[in-house]
Symmetry: C2
Subunit: 377 residues, 2 copies
């Protein structure tokens, strides 16, 4: 089986985790895919639920039947004719694609566990975001844990291939965890969100707040406990978990603590990527159709549409057979985000400030996806 792999890591608080992940994550992905390689090849048959077992008709045992006497059918309510009483239990059919997603998810978890195990011996510092693309059997699997971003540009149109994981986008997950496991807050933080810091003199007054299960805001009477620092604080690029970190998924960070305290951040960080699938064979791709991966340094200053426009204008001016046309397009994007040094700092188009963050960009042509799939047919 053909397999292609691209990956992008953005480190923080040290380069260790990013370097280790850039060298080892692909091995974890390969290891996870190893178990399912024969199943993937056999695309005509759905993946077996249980390995090393002949498919058979299962009859439910009596315990199962009792449990199946569910609420709606059990209390005399008229059952919908589309849901006859369940006698024999059916099996959920899992498509092949879901096994690749599961393999990538497991690989991220294993990578994070390896960093945890070996961080002291090998002095693996810091943490990193991870954005990974796996090409397998005509499909792209884009896995993202962090605040990097992937988009596809097809015919000049943007197809988003990832979402970002930040204190703002993951607020409810983080607040819910803190609500259920308050000891993780070390008596220093509150899981409630307030529009600003609460002052002691405001105790007894009514202030806007937001709990884990709210998307709106309501007033509550301020108590002593609300004076603690909020778990989630700040807006946009300044939003932080426990006043420390601005990205909520990734690898590493096992030793990261709140400044001047003994409170670990890691329980709030997830190593699980979101995996989106793009079926290359569903579309015909031209030489200017590309997948773009970039760190937040690019997306902080350029909109998806600006990136699409830049690439769509740049590529047709390159030699169509030039070996470096996509590399040149990536360099062009980096320079558009960095800008040029003027009197008042680095400036990009429309006199906006350029990015001072590090900027990494991949521009990956999709046209080879066509050819590869054609070769196989």
């Amino acid at each position: 089986m053909h397999l292609h792999y691209w990956s992008l890591f953005d480190g923080h608080a040290g380069s260790g985790a990013a370097v280790v992940a850039s060298k080892l994550l692909q091995h974890h992905i390969l290891e996870q895919l190893q178990e399912i390689v024969d199943i993937m090849k056999n695309s005509a048959v759905l993946p077996p639920t249980c390995l090393g077992e002949e498919p058979e008709n299962m009859t439910a045992n009596s315990r199962t039947l009792t449990r199946a006497a569910s609420l709606r059918s059990g209390v005399g309510a008229p059952g919908s004719p589309s849901t006859p009483p369940t006698r024999f239990f059916t099996e959920k059919k899992i498509p092949h694609e879901c096994l690749v997603i599961g393999a990538i998810e497991s690989a991220f978890k294993e990578m994070d566990l390896q960093i945890e195990r070996e961080r002291t011996i090998y002095n693996i510092s810091g943490g990193c975001t991870a954005l990974v693309v796996v090409y397998l059997l005509g499909k792209l699997y884009v896995a993202n844990a962090g605040d990097s971003r992937a988009i596809i540009i097809r015919n000049g149109e943007v197809v988003p291939m990832s979402s970002e994981f930040t204190p703002e986008t993951e607020r409810q997950r983080l607040q819910y965890l803190a609500f259920m496991q308050p000891h993780l807050l070390g008596n220093e933080f509150t899981h409630l969100e307030f529009p600003r810091r609460v002052q002691r003199k405001e105790i007894g007054k009514r202030m806007l707040y937001r709990d884990f299960n709210m998307t709106g805001w309501a007033y509550k009477t301020i108590e002593e406990d609300d004076l603690k620092f909020p778990l989630i604080y700040g807006e946009g690029k300044k939003a932080r978990v426990m006043a420390t970190i601005g990205v909520t998924r990734g690898l590493g960070d096992h030793d990261l603590k709140v400044h001047d305290s003994n409170i670990y951040i890691k329980p709030f960080l997830s190593s699980t990527p979101e995996v989106k699938v793009y079926d290359l064979q569903q579309y015909e791709h031209g030489p200017d159709d590309v997948l773009i991966l970039a760190t937040d340094g690019l997306w902080d200053v350029l909109l998806n549409e600006e990136v699409a426009e830049a690439v769509t204008n740049f590529l047709p001016n390159c030699d169509p057979d030039g070996p470096h046309r996509y590399t040149l397009a990536a360099q062009d994007l980096v320079m558009r985000a960095r800008g040029v040094l003027k009197d008042r700092g680095w400036r990009i188009s429309n006199d906006r400030l350029g990015s001072g963050d590090d900027i990494s960009v991949f521009v990956i042509p999709l046209i080879h996806g066509n050819k590869q799939s054609l070769n196989k047919q």
Copy 2:
């Protein structure tokens, strides 16, 4: 202030909760809105963060400054110029709309607490879903907790105004809760998902599973613990939490237990609605533009598009000034979902099975929204 209110409750395991909620939920909503009525009227000024306090510039205290020394700027990484070091803390600006959303969310919580408090005295049985629409200051707030559904039909096009909360759509929330608080499973259930029941003879074999943080599937070695009944089991309309309930948000159900056990279901159920906002003043509405609320009995057998087509065909044939035209359209929808009794049961269009569930439908004209807002301007 003008306020309009519609509500739809679908009971299960007894009618008590549905009846009580249909009589009292609006009072909780009014009570919550009471506190913010003056703020809502004053639409020119953003809602105050703290009530009874003059706005002032806050200077951060030293503790705050320490905490603000966040990871990215704290470890020598180049800070982006768009995020200068924070010296003075800004205040999050909360728009008026968010206060109405918060008020409705709080009202649902209070309603559920009242049912919990009074269920024994007043013998309030069962639980119910709740779909509520509040009209306030030119906007519709559609709040949904359960598996009813609201759609707007505008110019024959469907605008979804709610999503459903079921064991399948809320799988990850439920598994996460069970993972973090395993005692809620009463040693009878496992938070892991399997494509079918695991049999004892399969211990030691590799079977597909899905954990709370996975969207894909992977193989794991079956252990004794995996023989427990899965927290989430079944597909589509047959999906159940703890083999008992097929809807995961709503009111009531405080006494609901797993059949033949002492395990309560309520900790897994949420009373929080999802609130979507529709700005009536953003569009001009004709006499055939409507908001439709209906219980799952309708949506189980008819697609959004079929409902839109039916209404779009029905309304123009009614007297435009007839006082019952929207009621007639609602009745038409109910009959389309119930079908007619034939040799082989109740049948709807294309010889599909009709709904055997109860079916409640509201068809609410949006054209009065125009007029009302115009009157006010």
